[in-house]
Symmetry: C2
Subunit: 346 residues, 2 copies
DNA sequence: TGGCAGCGTCGATGCGCTTCGACAAACTCA
DNA sequence: TGAGTTTGTCGAAGCGCATCGACGCTGCCA
């Protein structure tokens, strides 16, 4: 193992000088600096992580806490995890993956042991039990999702309210007067998953403004539940010509069912999906979607964390930011401006 | 911050005794042990990770290296990442997430700095450049996937050859004589992704044994490419009554196209998908699949790593294991025993 | 009753690095 | 030209823990 002392000897300087060069924490002449860096490269020196952590009282590690639940669309979590990791590296940090299996205790352990300098929490919900654990310890935290009380915490999330509103606007613009909103399974609403509720609320408010009638129905996403949901919506509102699908899993079944019911998309019926762009092209017809920037979420979260950590290091008070990322409507082939009147009389 | 000295004082023992209790590395009387543990709990002591790493020369961290590429089915990677993380915790290890963005240098950095005790590499390919980097340093490594030369390395992977064979057997058993094999995009084969090649090889061999004729065609997974692939297969072999789909993204399009072509599944045409069980139920009809145990992969990889680390600590030579996990055929509604003869004459 | 094993506990040392204060050298200005 | 300032480098003191060797104590056998 190559140590800082080896580098120092090789470069003809003292260990502290090598440390200063590597950390940029002190003025060093260009010549010495060059000599040290050359020695570092020549010997293939990698500072020992444990020693750095111990002496410097910071681990340069950010913990990323993932939900175990999988009713969220998994690729989205993956996208966030990867963007968090690459962005963290750009700032010299590594990422520790923590699952929620340990619950709040896991977060406590990672923070209290100094394993991580800060914690990024994914899929934060109202009443999240991990948040008090973090607050109590004064741990640096960034939340992906919105908690009850964002006081003293940085948060970032998609603007789901705006996403819901975009759906309503688009269908209203196209002339739809009756819309079915196919939601997540009822369990998701029961746990008050913020993203589900906010999307629905945003949609509801805008739909009312635009005088669009709608029916919201939960849906588990299986073929059977989608069939049942669709049947109920069409029975209650035969004049429905537009659909908003919140549960990605229901998209495929819905398209099949509409076709089977003799409704063609987009001629008779428009479908707007709330899902990542990536999914949109996999369906036929390609889906008009409202989606948020997945990669951006991770980048912003890391940015907030870095700002918090540097502020804390300087003894400054933490900056509790609160960022909502704007969703985009991408019109593809599943929505249409001239909905035919439904065949059955209402 | 609570240190081991605080605990020692509180319990009326020396710091070394506390250390022995916490690490179980020395005989301690039951009474002392109880007293120490009570103090630990009462003070909420969490051993400092940096100090432990430095003094103990091990970080209790395993690095998990993820591919950035996304032509693999993403939820599968996620499943592995989560199972690796939870299994590692069961052994007292944490998991550091490393992306391949840094390339072999990232792996080198993490290992050389002592940040991680070992490295689990996902999505290993033939000629993987990260492997020489690990070998050179003598870093403990477990590969998910199979390298050219598994000498001195532990590997685990799905038995893709067996998976291919299972597909061939099932379709042969059902009486299909002409089968289309819808593969991944040609880029996947060009990089010699082992999983793609081995599945195909396993299928080919068994198909020949069972006297099933087949056409393998690469497919990017978009609607257009699937349509083109299907068209070509049916043009070349109009008598095709069975399909094996390797590229998950092509499943949805394929089912739609078959229906559009007037072929009903499973009455006229059987479809076997090589994909996670989870996807199978999302399609209509529910897919007959051949799939491997995703969670198991992560668990086995961690198990191998733990064995390597404990062996290395005792100065024993590493056990280079090589495990192939057996896939399962699950018959659902997309395969049928009585393929109707195709309508067009061959 | 003396001698000798363990068994259980303690001090001391060092892991490799960061960082503080000291200090020599080169410079500034009166 | 001497006092004060700045610049660049060095030594040494920890950071909090694991671990080795030392050592006292209890209990056993002769």
């Amino acid at each position: 193992m190559v140590t800082i002392a080896d580098v120092a000897r090789h470069a003809g300087v003292s260990p502290s000088t090598v440390s200063y060069v590597l950390n940029g924490s002190h003025q060093i002449s260009e010549t010495t600096r060059g000599r040290v860096l050359r020695s570092v490269a020549e010997l293939g020196f990698h500072p020992n992580a444990g020693a750095r952590t111990l002496a410097g009282r910071r681990s340069r590690i950010i913990a990323l806490v993932m939900p175990l639940r999988t009713d969220m669309y998994v690729p989205v979590m993956m996208e966030i995890a990867i963007s968090v990791t690459t962005e963290a590296r750009r700032h010299g940090y590594d990422v520790l993956l923590v699952t929620d299996e340990e619950g709040p205790e896991g977060v406590r352990r990672v923070a209290a042991s100094g394993l991580a300098d800060g914690v990024i929490l994914m899929d934060v919900e109202l009443g999240d039990p991990r948040i008090p654990a973090l607050r109590a310890r004064g741990t640096q935290a960034v939340l992906i999702g919105l908690p009850d009380d964002p006081h003293q915490l940085s948060c970032v999330d998609h603007d789901f309210t705006a996403a819901g509103a975009l759906c309503a606007d688009h269908l209203a613009d196209l002339g739809h007067r009756d819309v079915g909103f196919i939601g997540y399974g009822s369990g998701v609403y029961k746990r008050h998953a913020g993203y589900a509720e906010r999307t629905l609320a945003g949609f509801r408010e805008r739909a009312e403004q635009r005088r669009v009638r709608f029916l919201h129905r939960p849906c588990e996403g299986t073929y059977e539940s989608t069939a049942w949901t669709l049947t109920r919506i069409l029975a209650d509102r035969p004049g429905t010509t537009g659909f908003v699908v919140q549960n990605e899993a229901a998209i495929g079944p819905l398209l099949g069912l509409l076709k089977a019911a003799g409704r063609s998309v987009p001629e008779d019926t428009s479908v707007v999906a709330l899902c990542p762009e990536q999914l949109a092209e996999q369906h036929t017809p390609a889906l008009t979607t409202v989606s948020g920037p997945g990669q951006e979420l991770g980048r912003v979260a890391v940015g907030q964390m870095i700002r918090r950590l540097t502020a804390a290091q300087r003894g400054e008070p933490p900056t509790d930011e609160r960022v909502l990322l704007q969703p985009t409507l991408t019109v593809r082939q599943s929505t249409n401006g001239q909905p035919s009147p439904p065949k059955e009389p209402s």
